[in-house]
């Protein structure tokens, strides 16, 4: 009995340790409220709406994550769901990395878990709010293990599909997961044709919604090539871009880089981690089949190449992004650094275990092991407490709820249209979010489809958006006023306009309030639904003329999208059914053998 408890404790230790690390990293994010940081916007109740299916005029960047959240928060409140997603991602990530380490003992798995949870990639992606990518990252070790079992002829397809589903909440996540699946299965020398076909088919089926949604947007899926240079991997402190990327960092946005990465400590940490990894190489070669080694090295090389492509060959990547539909997914290449992390964590774990075991006195070896397990934490301590306070949870102002109710009342009364968010800029620094930068949360808070600017500004340079409708509305705002503007907006399918007065005032204070942003818009003929200190909401008259259709506003496009969602849902449900069935059968067999 004691032995069983001990074995269970050993098995649970990496997950428990990962949970401790996750709580330390997330800090204030786990308190009451919502974390709004750059692209991470969660609201109390994300309403299901047409655009979440991929039918909107903007590119389907949040397909399927927005729809998944909108459906799940019908059951679990959005506030709790966000904390489960963030905490769960880090715990699952650490536990998965620990599983990669072969052999017995705790030092190796715990060291691997620590490095996988506590590294620049996690801190920077948390800071910039790429939570679906963190779920991808968390799934990678599990995808690798399931794909290897599948390649070995085991019945692991249902579990593999479930992990791929979790990993594919964003287009880049789906691609990263797909690369891992293909490499892990294809690395085996023989008999992989069938599992490879099946696994690739499953990945495509799961990712069908965003693939089809992107395809129906046609030429609109090519992006501004200027983005490549702006989103290229950056050096961190004394480290040039390639070293920063090798250390799992290198994100384009200097605002979210932990301060420790910008000092000589970042370089010292990288040297220390790589030295421990080198120490693990011999054990890795001895204990791991060649195919597994090839697979992990291959995905790491893919990750490094894509991450550095925008820096090494900016013209070639810019051409791809500007001419090949969907290639815009490569423009923030450092997202693919996720593919480097499993190999690095595995080697770090094996290296730490080997160095600890090499000490002749066992007690001192334990001390060495403990120290090495803690190396990632002590060399980047500012990842703690919500990445140094970047992830504090806040509450939405009451005015948001007031405007939501007003728009909802209108909708129930039959008023059609989308909400236009002004000022027509993408990001805000609300005072109620302690001035932390965030994608405008208002659109997601309100119950209707919304139109927001998709133009990005990085260091004062504009990256043009892809949404033709947004471009037309920006032009209307810049050139029209009064009833003519109201009519033009209604003609674009706008039913309501909501102005963020605080953001408009901030633009005016910085003297960047161009007319095209609509920060001082006057809609005299429109009905004022709400006028408060933070927000003003208008209801526009119902358009009488022709409303310009979006790229997915055709019957064939909608039918294709329905097919894609159906295929993804069917794949998920089949995997769930088969996975539960396999577990029940295994338990029955175990009972019979007892």
């Amino acid at each position: 009995m004691r032995g069983r408890i001990g074995a269970a404790g050993l098995r649970a230790a990496p997950a428990l340790w990962s949970a401790v690390l996750a709580v330390l990293v997330l800090g204030g994010a786990l308190g009451p409220g919502y974390v709004l940081s750059y692209d991470m916007v969660w609201v109390p109740d994300l309403a299901v709406r047409g655009d979440f299916w991929g039918t909107g005029s903007s590119l389907p960047r949040a397909v399927p994550s927005d729809l998944v959240v909108a459906l799940l928060d019908e059951v679990v409140p959005g506030m709790l769901l966000q904390k489960v997603a963030l905490l769960g991602a880090l715990v699952v990530a650490g536990a998965g990395a620990a599983r990669l380490v072969p052999g017995t003992g705790l030092v190796g798995p715990l060291a691997a878990a620590t490095l996988y949870v506590w590294n620049p990639f996690v801190a920077e992606r948390l800071g910039i709010g790429h939570w679906p990518l963190l779920l991808t990252y968390a799934s990678l070790p599990w995808i690798f293990l399931c794909a290897r079992r599948l390649a070995a002829g085991e019945r692991a397809l249902p579990q593999l599909v479930l992990w791929v589903v979790l990993a594919s909440l964003s287009p880049v996540g789906g691609i990263v997961a797909g690369v891992m699946v293909v490499a892990a299965v294809a690395a085996s020398a023989r008999g992989v044709r069938r599992p490879l076909l099946v696994a690739t088919g499953a990945v495509l089926a799961v990712n069908a919604p965003w693939i089809v949604a992107g395809a129906v947007h046609g030429s609109a899926t090519v992006s501004d090539p200027a983005a490549v240079a702006l989103f290229a991997a950056q050096g961190e402190g004394v480290m040039p871009p390639w070293l920063a990327v090798l250390g799992l960092g290198g994100i384009w946005n200097a605002e979210v880089v932990p301060a420790s990465r910008t000092t000589v400590v970042g370089l010292a940490a990288l040297v220390l981690v790589l030295a421990v990894c080198v120490a693990g190489l011999t054990t890795w070669r001895r204990r791991t089949p060649r195919a597994e080694r090839h697979a992990l090295v291959a995905v790491a090389v893919v990750g490094l190449v894509v991450a550095l492509a925008g820096r090494v060959a900016p013209d070639a990547v810019a051409w791809l992004v500007g001419h090949v539909p969907g290639a815009g997914l490569l423009r923030d290449g450092t997202r693919f650094v996720a593919l480097v992390a499993p190999l690095q964590a595995l080697l770090f774990g094996l290296g730490a275990a080997r160095l600890a075991a090499a000490v002749p006195v066992r007690a001192v070896g334990l001390g060495v092991g403990t120290f090495l397990v803690l190396v990632p934490v002590m060399t980047m301590p500012d990842a703690a407490r919500g990445v140094s306070g970047r992830l504090e949870a806040v509450d939405f102002p009451e005015e948001y709820a007031t405007v939501r109710q007003a728009v909802e009342r209108d909708r129930q009364a039959g008023h059609p249209g989308d909400v236009l968010l002004l000022p027509f800029t993408s990001y805000r620094q609300p005072g109620w979010n302690d001035g932390r930068r965030t994608l405008d949360p208002l659109g997601r808070y309100l119950p209707a489809d919304y139109l927001a600017s998709d133009t990005l500004v990085v260091s004062g340079e504009e990256i043009a958006g892809e949404d033709q409708r947004a471009a037309r509305v920006g032009h209307h705002l810049a050139t029209l006023e009064g009833p003519a503007l109201e009519q033009a907006l209604a003609g674009e399918g706008i039913g309501w306009v909501v102005l963020d007065r605080e953001a408009a005032a901030a633009l005016a204070a910085q003297e960047v309030d161009a007319p095209g942003y609509g920060g001082s818009v006057e809609l005299g003929s429109a009905e004022v639904l709400h006028r408060g200190t933070l927000l003003t909401a208008w209801q526009l008259a119902t358009p009488t003329g022709h409303v310009t259709p979006g790229p997915a506003d055709t019957a064939p496009a909608r039918a294709l999208l329905a097919l894609a969602w159906g295929l993804a849902a069917l794949t998920l449900l089949t995997a769930l059914y088969r996975s539960v069935g396999t577990r029940v059968t295994s338990r029955r067999q175990l009972r019979r053998s007892d």
Binding site: L374, Y427, L456, V458
Partner: protein, 49 residues
Amino acid sequence: MNPFLAGLIAMIVAALLAFFTTFGVVNTVSAEPKQPEQNVMDYGTNQAE
């Protein structure tokens, strides 16, 4: 000495050492990196100073 006790002491010493190292790193990097002035509408900056 009891091997269990020796191991425990070694782990505590290592954890203390890690704690003091962390403390040293925190002191080294206590100041956040300077960022260029940003507009309220910016997504971020790729120009650390």
